[in-house]
């Protein structure tokens, strides 16, 4: 199982973001460096959710925003390691929509369940596979500092 390492600050930030946008989904990018067993994330960049038509159960980040996020990442010697979003009153598990819309092979997709406005579980899934046609999500171990907080149930 691959490992996603988050700093406590990043972990708290992405969960707080989900609480702030509740009952809508939050979203953002995670910046970091690859490790032999996964990713070390150093910072989270909140992004706008363009799906204002269905923000309670959909998110989309404008590509032009990612151009700028990636530019800033390069300046810092970091890569886009993956993305985070929240599931308002829904489990911290990837959905059929999450998989269909996932295209960043090798990157992590972090999902936080926000129940009644409070962040509960945070899980991470690596988008594995060699091509778009055989992509699949693999559950990751999430380490916050030295503590393992996932995988966790719903």
């Amino acid at each position: 199982m691959s490992v996603l390492r988050l700093t406590p600050a990043v972990y708290n930030q992405i969960r707080a973001h989900g609480q702030q946008t509740y009952p809508h989904e939050c979203c953002g990018a995670l910046l970091g460096n690859s490790t032999p067993d996964g990713w070390q994330v150093h910072s989270a960049v909140p992004a706008g959710n363009t799906r204002t038509d269905s923000a309670h159960n959909r998110y989309h980040i404008a590509p032009v925003e990612l151009v700028k996020i990636e530019r800033d990442a390069r300046r810092q010697g970091l890569s886009i390691a993956g993305f985070y979003h929240s599931h308002p009153d829904h489990p911290a598990q990837w959905s059929v929509t999450d998989l269909a819309e996932a295209h960043w092979l090798g990157c992590c997709y972090v999902i936080t369940a926000v129940a009644q406005g409070k962040a509960t579980l945070t899980n991470s899934f690596l988008l594995a596979g060699a091509t778009e046609e055989d992509k699949n999500f693999e559950t990751q171990t999430v380490l916050v500092g030295e503590q393992s907080i996932a995988p966790a149930g719903n």
């Binding site: 989904e25 979203c27 990018a29 799906r51 269905s54 159960n57 959909r58 998110y59 989309h60 980040i61 590509p63 032009v64 990612l66 151009v67 700028k68 990636e70 390069r74 890569s79 886009i80 390691a81 993305f83 979003h85 599931h87 308002p88 829904h90 489990p91 990837w94 959905s95 929509t97 999450d98 269909a100 819309e101 996932a102 295209h103 960043w104 092979l105 090798g106 990157c107 997709y109 988008l127 091509t131 778009e132």
Partner: protein, 91 residues
């Protein structure tokens, strides 16, 4: 010009985050990219040679699909082309 390679495509571009190419327009730049790194072809294009629907291209900060000349748009040596796979989802 410089083509910025997103994280998921770097393994197919020699693990580079940027590739320099000589080209007169965007289409030529992409052709030069896939010639130098053939494994990128199937990740960027369909079997019919069309750009995959989830692949967004930005010339500097402009979405190529909305440029009047689209991928025939001329480029300068100082221009950059960013390849950005779509990011979306939801519960």
């Amino acid at each position: 010009m410089t083509i910025f390679i997103p994280t998921p495509l770097r393994p197919f571009a020699g693990n580079h985050d940027a590739v320099e190419v000589n080209a007169a327009n965007i289409a030529e730049a992409l052709a030069a990219l896939t010639q130098a790194h053939p494994d990128l072809q199937k990740h960027l294009f369909t079997g019919e040679g069309k750009l995959r629907a989830f692949v967004n291209l930005y010339l500097n900060d402009e979405d190529v699909r909305y440029l009047p000349e689209k991928d025939a748009t001329a480029v300068n040596p100082n221009d950059t082309l960013s390849i950005i796979p779509s990011i979306a989802g939801g519960c």
